[in-house]
């Protein structure tokens, strides 16, 4: 099972390779400020995800807003599978909560 921060990181690099600052910003914006990891926590998670083979360091992508000195991270095939598995697990929980009438909000 992934931690919430790890899942958010995988989702952030899902769109394409990104550096630490962009990943942190993406997480903060998408969670509406609820998740705002410290730089330390962010890099610890990045290190663990790299060790587990879910993301990998890559060269800077082509583009104008690229800083060659930065480390960029990209999702691996194993990472994609992990995200799918995690979302399936969450989906199962949502279905269960609906069946038990503990969660009545409609799917958007």
């Amino acid at each position: 099972m992934l931690t919430e921060l790890s899942l958010h990181i995988l989702l952030a690099v899902g769109e394409g390779a990104a550096h630490g600052y962009a990943i942190g910003r993406d997480i903060e914006e998408r969670s509406g400020g609820r998740l705002d990891p410290t730089t330390g926590a962010l890099y610890q998670a990045l290190k663990r995800l790299t060790r587990d083979g879910l993301i990998r360091p890559v060269g800077p992508p082509k583009g104008s807003d690229v800083d060659a000195r930065r480390k960029y991270f990209a999702l691996t095939a194993a990472g994609k599978r992990e995200v799918a598995g995690e979302i399936r697990r969450l989906e199962g929980l949502v279905t269960l909560a609906r069946e038990r009438r503990l969660y009545t909000a409609r799917a958007r």
Binding site: G40, L42, Y43, L46, K47, R69, R70
Partner: protein, 228 residues
């Protein structure tokens, strides 16, 4: 490099060597960008952000070092249990801190309650300490009594004073071993240099007998010197 960045870079250097070598420089760059975002929001925002970030790195330092120790067989790392407890405590602390920040009203009420409770406790202790634990620094302090005269009829609650006759009268009472009068006041000392205001005391020579003390310097007044 600015102060905030320097502070953060110093904290990063405490990380395990491989971690710092692999990610340290990038962490500092990421921090610098995030700090620049905060800098535009003002000094306090930047200060709070920097403190939080440095604490964040410190937490990772402990967690990473704990993890490395966990990888060592138990026999050669007797502190493992302690470390996992420490790690647990750290998680709890961070959790508590985050919850307190999220509910500022509750946090304020809790801090105020604590402040009041600590204040009340200090006051009670001060009183107990003076009265019970370490009473007046005089011999037979429990036998000392202070006599005050009042005249409630004319609205004088305290400090009516004593006449010389009454003073002699009191001194002859069988239950009184010694008696002294004192008036606390202030006196101006002038002479060499600038004049100084000193706190002083008018008293009878019997004061040393009552309090069972000796002057720290010089000699006390003799009974003859006290005769009018």
């Amino acid at each position: 490099m600015r102060t905030a960045e320097r502070l953060f870079a110093r904290a990063v250097r405490l990380l395990p060597r491989e971690f710092a070598a692999e990610y340290g420089a990038d962490m500092v760059r990421t921090f610098a960008r995030r700090a620049a975002d905060r800098r535009s929001r003002g000094g306090i925002s930047l200060l709070l952000f920097t403190l939080r970030e440095v604490a964040g790195v410190a937490a990772i330092v402990i967690l990473e070092r704990a993890e490395r120790l966990r990888a060592i067989p138990a026999r050669s790392a007797p502190h493992r249990d302690l470390l996992s407890r420490l790690e647990h405590m750290l998680t709890e602390l961070r959790h508590a801190g985050r919850r307190l920040l999220r509910t500022p009203g509750f946090t304020c009420a809790a801090v105020l309650t604590l402040a009041l409770a600590i204040g009340a406790n200090t006051a009670i202790f001060t009183l107990l300490n003076r009265v019970v634990l370490s009473p007046l620094p005089y011999g037979d302090a429990d036998r000392l009594i202070a006599v005050d005269h009042t005249a409630p009829g004319v609205g004088l609650i305290t400090g009516v004073g004593i006449s010389s006759g009454l003073y002699r009268e009191y001194g002859e009472l069988p239950s009184i071993e010694a008696i002294a009068i004192h008036v606390v006041t202030e006196t101006t000392l002038s002479g060499d240099g600038a004049a100084r205001r000193l706190s002083s005391l008018y008293t009878t020579p019997t004061l040393t007998d009552v309090l069972a003390v000796e002057p720290a310097l010089g000699r006390w007044f003799t009974a003859e010197e006290g005769t009018p």
